[in-house]
Amino acid sequence: MIYGVAILAACMFLGTTIGEIIGLLTGVNSDVGGVGFAMLLLLLVTNCKKITNLLPNGWEKGIQFWSAMFLPVIIALSASQNVYSALSGGVLALVAGLAVVAAAFLFLILLNTLAGKVEAKKNSKEAEQ
């Protein structure tokens, strides 16, 4: 089980390092997409039979445990948000925050429909060939 946890931690380490390096190169000086890279690394490593065959049985449990802990972590995270001061931030903050979310949902409908049409076209073309 520890191997799964160690792989997970190593992926996060490498991913964050990649993100920080990109941040350095672009002058942002913070992590750019480190978690995303870590996720891709984890996918690559755990799908590589050459690596996973070397591990004793049950290594997956180490990753599955933390995956199951995701929701509790998110609940703890929601309990440690600065809700009080956000709500006392006044009407401007409230309006700005809500307007942005409403706009993003509209764009989601738009982009998702467009992407669906593009994909359908691609599929029908492939079917013709």
Binding site: V32, M39, L43, F70, V73, I74, A79, A93, L98
Partner: protein, 266 residues
């Protein structure tokens, strides 16, 4: 009796991380009960747990009155976790464990789905940042902030609550405007947590592709992953994958290109 109570409180204060499992476990138990018995399964238990978490965070803020820690002089800002016996909840919900568990959810995601959505996810990222900046900026302008620095800082805050202060510091915005930009970002994050499970089906947020677009448009990693967790846990890795690029990209674009454009317009 008082001694026993003291021992219990001491355990919570001294073993915060362990105690946080009890707190969150109880929260889940209560949420499960409310979901099954009161809403008859109509509202997901995880959505209720997140709402209860936010309510506790608010109560934490009221109890500490958003004051200053007498020992360190640091402003209280972690909701329930500012109360000494619940600091462990803050550790369990820290960005370190958040990111660690998010990465673990990738286990079981499909690489093919991610590859398929590369282009539209990138479009969503840019559209998400620019539109948040514009809408946030317009609201700031409507509320009487007419200078480019303030408009850009509040606009950046509407991108995420990290991008706001980063941009404000870079441009030399006033402390008041920076605080406002953080508040706007936190409101956005909370709104995404609460609204997503309610509207998910209506806006078509049911597929990995939609989740990747969603992550790119909303950006706030906490809000996006919590919102998706309360909607369909299987979608979490896809939304997280794109949202994790959002803050970095926002820190890159807001103080530079987007600020320059704001200055041109105003």
């Amino acid at each position: 009796m008082k001694a026993v109570l003291d021992i219990m409180v001491d355990f919570f204060t001294g073993n915060g991380f362990i105690a946080s499992f009890i707190v969150v476990g109880l929260l889940c138990l209560v949420s499960d009960f409310i979901s099954k018995k009161i809403t008859k399964g109509r509202i997901h238990a995880s959505a209720i747990a997140i709402v209860l978490g936010l309510v506790l965070a608010y109560i934490g803020g009221v109890v500490m009155n958003s004051g200053v820690d007498p020992a360190t002089g640091v402003q209280y800002k972690k909701g329930l976790a500012d109360i000494a016996m619940f600091t462990g909840v803050g550790f369990l919900g820290s960005s370190m464990l958040r990111d660690f568990t998010i990465v673990s959810t990738a286990f079981g995601a499909k690489i093919s789905e991610i590859k398929k959505c590369g282009l539209v996810a990138i479009i969503a990222l840019f559209l998400g940042i620019v539109s948040s900046f514009v809408f946030g900026g317009v609201v700031a302008y409507a509320f009487g902030y007419k200078d480019a620095v303030s408009v850009a800082t509040i606009g950046a805050g509407a991108v995420t609550f990290v991008v706001g202060p980063v941009t404000g510091d870079a441009l030399g915005a006033t402390a008041e405007v920076i605080t406002l930009s953080i508040a706007a970002g936190v409101i956005k994050s909370i709104a995404v947590m609460l609204v997503t499970p309610v509207v998910a089906k209506k806006v078509g947020l049911t597929t990995p592709r939609a989740a990747m677009i969603f992550g790119g448009l909303m950006g706030t990693t906490s809000g996006t992953t919590a919102g998706l967790a309360a909607t369909d846990p299987a979608l979490v890795p896809y939304g997280a994958m794109t949202s994790t690029f959002y803050t970095g990209l926002g820190c890159l674009l807001c103080p530079s290109v987007l600020y320059a454009l704001t200055e041109l317009i105003l």
